[in-house]
Symmetry: none
Subunit: 204 residues, 2 copies
DNA sequence: AAAAGCACTGCTTATTTAAACAGTATTTAT
DNA sequence: ATAAATACTGTTTAAATAAGCAGTGCTTTT
């Protein structure tokens, strides 16, 4: 960005202060008075220079037609919760390569607190209001109660289902009649609970 | 604070949107065009009413002399998005008394950005994956396209439906066969679009 | 040394804009 | 029932405002 002259900077600062103070941009005449300049034309040059240098935009023939363009420095923003996409077989859910993005959602939005957002694949939980592409807020835990929607890993596959445990059998219920219940004999097969669902976030 | 009429609310909303979009308040004539009113005088009355009710301040003889007051959550970033519950007839959706709570969700999680979260009542949008108690992320706007899920005000009632406009008829489609389509003849009944749904947030 | 840019004065003109006047019809409150 | 507030149409006027023209010094760059 081209540098402003000292005077241009004064004019720019005045415009910013005026907008902050009164909620509307100043007129050219108001700037002239504030700058101690007797002609509005003395200011017009500055405005055109500011517009050319990209810090403001001038709206032709509009009163107070000065638009501040924010070239605000990117502030150090908290990353928020990681969005986890496809999980490769055998690797931890929160491995770096699974993190598609971040979403600035406060983790205490949910109870218990969410640790990450899992992008849901498929329609198997449709009737629970969880659709393909939704972000499922997940609280990491290795224990869950019957009836909770859980993120589980069976034979290196990660899936989301409603949990029911009876003795050594685990039944993973989909919420869609087109899908079958998955039966897991925990004496023969490993069933790892990765977390419980604590919320849903969908972008329309 | 004294409640606004429906029309006054529309005018107030437009001013807010205009300030946000262009960085300066609109002229009376611009508001008149946006409201579909042929005389600026039709708007002056609204502005004076809004000033009397304390939501704006009018600067005499100044072009664009409209100052938005009530900076409540204008820069209340740490609070996050307001959660709006039951909306009383005739008052702005974001009126203080409707705000149940806040949720620290970054508004650019959604596109376009969400302005507030509306707590959904009833099951009429169930098959769109929007359930009773869900928080609907809403972008404030007074215009929407066919097929979008919108927040509308009909006869002072606020409701969420899928929008379809054909000529002077508006059809508000529920997403649940147990509910009927609402037909609104816009020549007879006012239909005010309060915003479009941009996301869903559910706490399990 | 010349050219370009900066920072103005002073004046004029056209457009934008707020605001006032004079009405009408409808709704809401007393 | 009456008054007040709401929600306008249509026109006019004057103030506010942007923008153009023609200059004057001064400083910085080429």
């Amino acid at each position: 960005m081209e540098k402003l002259t000292k005077r241009q900077n004064q004019v720019f600062e005045f415009i910013r202060e005026a907008v902050a103070a009164s909620g509307m941009p100043p007129t050219v005449a108001e700037i002239a008075v504030a700058m101690g300049v007797s002609s509005t034309n003395g200011i017009r040059g500055h405005l055109q220079a500011l517009a050319r240098k990209g810090v403001i935009e001038l709206v032709p023939n509009a009163s107070r037609g000065i638009r501040l363009l924010d070239q605000s420095e990117a502030e150090a923003e908290p990353l928020g919760l990681p969005i986890v996409g496809q999980v490769a077989a055998g690797s931890p859910i929160l491995a770096q390569e699974h993190i598609e993005d971040h979403c600035r959602v406060d983790n205490d939005t949910f109870h218990p607190a969410a640790d990450y957002l899992l992008r849901v694949k498929g329609e198997s939980m449709r009737d629970a209001g969880i659709y393909d592409g939704d972000l499922l807020a997940v609280h990491r835990t290795s224990t869950a109660n019957n009836g909770q929607i859980v993120v589980v890993r069976i034979e290196d596959e990660v899936t989301v289902k409603r949990l029911q445990i009876k003795g050594h059998m685990a039944y993973l219920h989909p919420e869609n009649p087109d899908f079958d219940v998955i039966n897991v004999n925990m004496k023969k097969q490993a069933l790892d609970i990765e977390g419980v669902a604590v919320g849903v976030l969908r972008r329309l």
